[in-house]
């Protein structure tokens, strides 16, 4: 095991074309998921890249999955909520590097407040909200990604929505599940 806790396996060259297509197809939405859960702009890209790298190293197996994107999303969802303590520091460092091209452009105050509130939720609730609303995943797929039951997903989602509604001063649409 390296210091980066990478899952290890030798990449198989025969699978590279399909991996690259998968990478190109999924990258932006996975970065977005990492971003809304971590609040870290450049860190989100690094996080996504680490997840894809881990997928590549097990691509012989993961490439055969029905939904390899779900595997990557699970890695990102777990890593993103495990704590980025470096948001301010990274912004400063990137600016010193003259590196603004990977930054997510500034969001409206409403979007910033919304996703900050999501990140303050308990870990599982935040993951469920991000996967449901940002990533557009149905409850059954969220359950597969997070390795829990669909009923658990719905419970987390309802609790999260009640907490967010109170925090953000919004009404809940009870028909939306």
């Amino acid at each position: 095991m390296t210091v980066h806790e990478e899952t290890v396996a030798t990449p198989a060259s025969a699978f590279r074309p399909s991996f690259e297509a998968f990478y190109g197809r999924e990258l932006q939405s996975v970065i977005g998921l990492a971003y809304v859960l971590s609040g870290s702009r450049s860190g989100a890209e690094d996080l996504a890249q680490e997840a894809f790298l881990a997928a590549l190293k097990q691509w012989n197996d993961i490439g055969t999955y029905d939904d390899p994107g779900g595997w990557v999303r699970r890695v990102v969802a777990n890593k993103a909520v495990s704590g980025f303590r470096r948001r301010a520091a990274e912004a400063r460092a990137l600016a010193r590097l003259g590196r603004t091209d990977f930054n997510v452009p500034d969001l409206t105050p409403e979007a910033v407040a919304t996703w900050e509130a999501v990140r303050r939720l308990p870990k599982r609730q935040a993951q469920v909200v991000a996967l449901r609303y940002f990533d557009g995943q149905p409850a059954a797929d969220i359950a597969r990604i997070l390795d829990c039951s669909e009923a658990t997903v719905k419970t987390h989602l309802q609790r999260a929505k009640h907490a967010l509604a109170k925090k953000l001063g919004e009404e809940i649409d009870h028909e939306d599940t």
Partner: protein, 414 residues
Amino acid sequence: MRTLEDRLDRTSGEVRNRIAQMPVRPASEVSRRLHQRRMITMTVAVIVVFGSFAGTALLLTGESGSSVASGPAAIEPANSDTDPASETPTTLGPSDAVYDTATATAWRSRVVAALSLSGLPNDVTSSYETRMPFRSGGSVTAVVEDTNGHRVLVVDLQGWAPGEYSTDPSWQQEAGGSNEPGTPIADGTLFIADSLPTIRSFVLVTEGGLLTVQAQKTSLVSLPETNAMVSFVESLAPAIGDIATVVSSDAEATAPLAALPRLGLDLPGWVATDATEEDGTEGGFRSINYYLPSEQGAPVVVVKLRIRGIPEGSAHEAGLWWMNRSDFTTVSVRGHDARMFASDGDFDFAWRESENAVVTLSVLSGLEVVTPDRATSIATSVINLNPEMWQELLLLAPSDSEIPSSPTTAIGDQ
């Protein structure tokens, strides 16, 4: 009725749209500049895409419908497709922008003078330098804002890195961010870049530096006419060489950890993804990640450099347990011995040249299966440090820690 679900959907769409603006892989330094400019353009486009508001207080004026530059211009009415309720104030300069430095003040004066000569309002509201210590160039910016605090004119000058400037027309066109050939003027080549109905941009590529002038329509301010902006650029051009030289030298003089960015940037095709710096009671920390992308942008090889100052008794010591494993190979990288740990295509190098600091470098296999020789070769390209640079990195330890005066390696003795 607006609901929480609507809000989550709406803000999700916003994040997705913004991320879609991010380039996957800048191919070159010039591309990086272009991406920066396009980001500004697209951000502004998002801001003004909403509805409309007939503004009355105009800061910028222009002569509507004329193709000939001529003196103070008439006011072009603000278009009615912006909604001030939806308009988001633009942000200030970069987080490390240094306002009102001598260079920024000098640039402000030159911009004010050129604005006056062109018949444009000259009330510059702020000016700042953005230093790029890990590059050779810096930038200096002057900004005009409307009364709502929205940027309506940004005048930015970037210095070139040594050897970066070229007279090659295709290079200049790329630097100018234009699909069309530029127009030669007395001081350089002028390009019209990223023109949108709500934005008017001009880029002047000169030997002295890269001038970008961008006017943005807001609910209060309409765009200046093209001829007025051309006149402004021509008036400002003679100042570029003097200011750009100062900007570049300022950036060099203030470069902290000047060696750090050498990582990867000197290797063709490598791209930085992430950088962090922290200074605290547990010592300083610097990190930077790079990767070599494939044509599709997937990681071919990933490199992560970490430099950490470690005061005595620091909790960080516990995180370095792996350095004491016995399954390492000692390799010499530019005269600095490192422990190299291998694990199924990934390699970790560790240098510990003092009790108070540790440098680690990870070379991770992506599409390319990295060999030990290849990893060492990459490390050699990354760790391109002379003794002074190395010492500077090790100074990340707290100030009361002792740093050896010469970077002699004794990692095997620890």
